[in-house]
C-alpha cells in the first residue's frame, strides 16, 4: 500500500498554486479569453470569426445534408443495379485479424457509433429541440471521443505497414476496386485494398486531428506559447478548430458510411472477418489477390488456416 501512495498522489495533485511572494494572494493569470487579448482580438474577428459565421450560416448544415443523403443513395443504387459481391464461405478459411486487432478495431468502432450520430444531432440540434437531449448527445460525443482516443494510436500502429501505398493501388483506383462490375475477377490488393487504405489514413490521422480540435473546443481555455509565435489569438485558434472539426467531419462521415456499406452489405459475409477474424479462401483469392498469392508462396496458408 505504501508503494501505491505516490501513484495515488498523481491523481490527487490539483496543480501548482504559484505564489508571487509569501503571504500574498496567489497569482492567477486567469483566462486568456478574459485579458487584454480579448479587446485586441476584436479587430481579428474579420479573419476567422467572419469566416466561421459565413460557413456555419451557409454551408455546414447543407453539406452534411448532401453527404447524408447522397452517399446512402449512391450505395442503394449500387446495391440494386450492380448488387453485392458473393463469395463461397465453404472450404478453407484463413486468420487475417488476430483477436487483439479485432478488439482495438471494435473499441474504435464503438467510439464512432457514439460520435457520429451525436455529432449529427449537435449540427441539427434545432430538429431535436435542443435542451437536455442534445446536451446529453454532447456528453456522449465526448465519451465516444475518449473511446476512439484509446484505440486510435494502437490502430494506427498495428496496420501502418500494410496500409502504406503500393503500386497496385493505382490499378485498384483505375477499376474502382471492381465494384462497378458484376464480373468475378482478381482485384489488385494486398491485405488491404486502396479504399481501405484511404479510410485508414482518414480515420487515424483525421481522427487525431478531430481529437485535438475537439479537445481545444472542450477545454476552451488553455494556454500555449505556440499562440504567440503563430501571431494568433486564442479565440482565433478556437475558430480554426471548429472550422477544421466540422469540415473534416464531413469527410469522415462520408467514408464511415462507405465503410459500413462495404463491410455489411456490398460484400456478403465480409463482416465475419472482423468478428471471428477469418476470411474465406474464395473471398481472399479474388478481393485480396496479392495477399493470397503471398501466403500461398510463403507457405503460410496452412498455419493461418489452422487457426480458424
Amino acid at each position: 500500500m505504501k508503494k501505491l501512495l505516490p501513484l495515488i498522489g498523481i491523481f490527487a495533485f490539483a496543480g501548482n498554486v504559484h505564489l508571487a511572494e509569501p503571504n500574498l494572494a496567489p497569482v492567477n493569470k486567469g483566462s486568456t479569453l478574459i485579458s487584454p487579448q480579448m479587446i485586441e482580438a476584436i479587430p481579428a474577428w474579420r479573419n476567422y470569426g467572419e469566416l466561421f459565421l459565413y460557413l456555419q450560416t451557409h454551408w455546414v448544415k447543407l453539406l452534411f445534408l448532401i453527404i447524408l443523403i447522397a452517399v446512402p443513395t449512391v450505395f442503394l443504387l449500387h446495391y440494386l443495379i450492380i448488387g453485392p459481391k458473393k463469395f463461397s464461405h465453404e472450404g478453407r478459411k484463413f486468420l487475417v485479424f488476430p483477436s487483439w486487432q479485432r478488439i482495438i478495431h471494435w473499441i474504435a468502432a464503438l467510439g464512432f457509433v457514439l460520435i457520429i450520430p451525436t455529432g449529427i444531432m449537435i449540427i441539427y440540434a434545432k430538429l431535436f429541440g435542443g435542451g437536455t437531449p442534445v446536451r446529453f448527445a454532447r456528453y456522449l460525443h465526448d465519451i465516444g471521443a475518449v473511446l476512439f482516443g484509446i484505440a486510435v494510436i494502437p490502430m494506427f500502429l498495428m496496420w501502418l505497414k500494410e496500409m502504406l501505398p503500393r503500386l497496385w493501388d493505382i490499378k485498384w483506383f483505375m477499376i474502382l476496386g471492381g465494384y462497378l462490375s458484376k464480373e468475378k475477377k482478381e482485384i489488385p490488393a494486398a491485405k488491404f485494398n486502396a479504399g481501405q487504405k484511404m479510410w485508414y489514413w482518414i480515420a487515424t490521422l483525421g481522427g487525431i486531428v478531430m481529437i485535438i480540435t475537439g479537445a481545444m473546443m472542450y477545454f476552451q481555455d488553455f494556454d500555449i506559447a505556440l499562440l504567440n509565435s503563430l501571431n494568433l489569438y486564442q479565440i482565433d485558434l478556437l475558430r480554426l478548430a471548429v472550422i477544421t472539426h466540422l469540415f473534416l467531419a464531413m469527410l469522415i462521415v462520408a467514408f464511415f458510411l462507405t465503410h459500413v456499406y462495404m463491410s455489411v452489405f456490398a460484400i456478403k459475409g465480409s463482416l465475419d472477418s472482423m468478428i471471428d477474424g477469418c476470411k474465406s479462401e474464395d473471398e481472399l483469392k479474388y478481393l485480396h489477390s496479392v495477399f493470397y498469392k503471398k501466403i500461398i508462396k510463403e507457405g503460410k496458408d496452412k498455419e493461418l488456416a489452422e487457426k480458424c
Binding site: 450560416t57 440540434a125 434545432k126
Partner: protein
C-alpha cells in the same frame, strides 16, 4: 419619421478608471457563479505612459448578432428594443456563439462532478430571459429583470465616472458626440470599433 430605439452599451475609455464596480455589481445583482463575469474590465497597454486605458466589455447586443446566426438550436432572440437574449432551456452549450462573437461575450460555467461545460451565460442588459418576467425561474437562470422594472442596467447604474452608459443608440451617440466635442477633438471611434463595425 418614427424610429425604433435600439438599446446599446457604450464605455468611454477616457473615463473608465478600472474600478471594476460594473463587474462586481453585475455579478452580485445576478448572483453569478464564481468564475463567470458577464461584464469585464480590461486594461490595455498597462504601464505604458500615455497609452494605458481601461474599458468595460460585455455583450454588445449587436444588430445582426452573429451568435444568433450560428446557433444550431436557434435559442437566441432579439427583442424589439435590440436586446439580444437566449433561452437557456434550449441551449446545448456547444460554444458556437463564442466562436462567432467578436467580443468574447458568451461564457460557459463548468459544473457537475466532471466539470462538464454547461449552457451559455452572457449579459442580458438586465432584461432577464424568456421565462416569466420577474419569476424566480427567470432570476435563477438569467438574473434580475431591471428593464421590466424601469431601472437602468446594474453596471451602468453603478458607474461612478459615467464611463459606461446605456440607452437607445441615438441618445448614447448624442452623449458621446457631446463628450468628444468638449474635448475639441471631433468624433472619435472607440477602440476596435472602426474595424469591428466597418
Amino acid at each position: 419619421m418614427y424610429e425604433y430605439a435600439r438599446m446599446k452599451f457604450y464605455c468611454d475609455e477616457y473615463r473608465c478608471i478600472e474600478c471594476n464596480a460594473c463587474t462586481v455589481a453585475c455579478a452580485e445583482a445576478h448572483e453569478l457563479p464564481v468564475g463567470i463575469h458577464r461584464r469585464k474590465v480590461i486594461t490595455l497597454n498597462e504601464g505604458i505612459e500615455g497609452k494605458e486605458f481601461s474599458t468595460s466589455i460585455a455583450c454588445m447586443h449587436c444588430t445582426d448578432a452573429p451568435c444568433a446566426q450560428v446557433c444550431p438550436v436557434d435559442c437566441f432572440y432579439i427583442r424589439e428594443d435590440g436586446i439580444v437574449l437566449h433561452d437557456k432551456d434550449k441551449c446545448i452549450g456547444c460554444g458556437y456563439c463564442l466562436y462567432a462573437c467578436p467580443f468574447g461575450a458568451p461564457q460557459f460555467p463548468r459544473d457537475g462532478a466532471f466539470g462538464v461545460r454547461g449552457v451559455m451565460d452572457k449579459c442580458t442588459m438586465c432584461a432577464g430571459g424568456p421565462a416569466p418576467t420577474n419569476s424566480i425561474e427567470e432570476f435563477e437562470l438569467y438574473g434580475q429583470n431591471r428593464i421590466a422594472e424601469g431601472k437602468v442596467p446594474m453596471c451602468a447604474a453603478v458607474c461612478s465616472t459615467n464611463a459606461l452608459i446605456v440607452g437607445d443608440a441615438d441618445s448614447v451617440a448624442e452623449i458621446k458626440r457631446a463628450r468628444d466635442a468638449a474635448k475639441g477633438k471631433g468624433p472619435m471611434t472607440p477602440y476596435g470599433w472602426d474595424v469591428a463595425y466597418k
